[in-house]
Amino acid sequence: MTDDDARWIARARAGEAAAFRHLVDANGAALFRVCARITGDRALAEDAVQEALLNAFRHLADFDGRSALSTWLYRIAVNAALAQVRKRRDLEVAWPQGDGDAAMPFDAADQSPTPDREAMSSEIRRDVEAELARMSPIERAAFVLRHQEGRSLEEICAVLSINVSSAKQAIFRAVRKLRAALEAPGELA
């Protein structure tokens, strides 16, 4: 924990609104990014960040200072994002579901934007979104943390409270589902 963190935390623990506001400004955007990557939805991400910060601030006394404040908030935010995705799935209003049989071949080497190709590109995007929707919250979170957040497998395990083998399997499944959206049936190994 940095001295700056410690100073703001002390003020926040004393109930100073300005200190909480500072912590929101300092961490809000970064937390939103990771929540948006996990939820794939702006509104859900913002709800997750708000929930996470409220939860964190209410339990600020529990923060032991062994890690950076941003790391502690990050962990809470990732789990809040997972909870938002699960809640949304329970309500069956998650991302749109594709039929899974409409995957189109994709040639990455030739992407000139002709009308046909643009149509194909939007179709592929829909397929990718459908595959992303099929990822379980843990698969998506593990993949986001590894690929976009650059977290190591050990860190992913700590954040998601799973073991290394489960983290690896979650990432493998996420990548397979992404490939399924982009490759013709039968091409998958």
């Binding site: 609104a17 929101v24 960040v49 592929i124 497998l153 982009l182």
Partner: protein, 267 residues
Amino acid sequence: MNPITDDDLVLYRYRDGLDAARIEQIAAALAESPALRERYAAIERAIAHFDSQEIEPDPDIGARLWRRLSPQLEEAGVVASSSPGMLERLRAWLTPPQARFAFALAATVLVAIGVGFVVGRQTVTAPPPQMVASNEVDAAAAARVLEAYVAANLRATEGVLLTASNSGDASLLEGNRELAQSLVESNRLYALAATRAGNTQLATFLRQLEPVLLSLANQPGTATIQSSEDLRHFLDSTDLLFQVRTIEARLDRTGKRRAANDGDSRI
């Protein structure tokens, strides 16, 4: 050598979850085998598509989160209620006891002057009946003039607040104090004028500004970094700057609308 699976290639991509020997094996195999390279490229392409899903935060994400969080934190008893705390925070910001005394004295004198001003105006200058009609005709124009002056005053107030909270330059702060002194008087007069015009919301807001301007006008000559920081915290916690800007913009808009309407009615 163990066969290289797609899962191995995923781990290889991130150089994570594989020992150094396995990483070397895969690197060598990739250099030798076009088929393996194609499998690796397919994984890269799939992963690259995920990056196109990026959602960037709005620039005002912090302010929006705070607007939602602040009442929840108050409700949960994590922070003190902000509305009654404004003057308390200002009081805390006025740390030197002599400044507190000067503030109290100046506030008392101004309140006395203000009461005398209002009472004097009411008893001496009651308009004769024949002037009422022309006063009503000019009411819109008078309101427009008042709004324009108040907007200009708020712009100057905003500048004073920003300079006081961000500048460490002694000569700049000295000039800022003088400007704050002049704004105290005009701010008080505009508050009275707004009350007389029936705009109680604006009058209340301007009255809230007065103690802030007074304390800036009476700031010690050697303002410290700490005092600037305290002012920044005070401004953050009360959203005072935001309110000043909002009301300033609203007055500008109303003024333009009134001017347009006046132009239409003259045609």
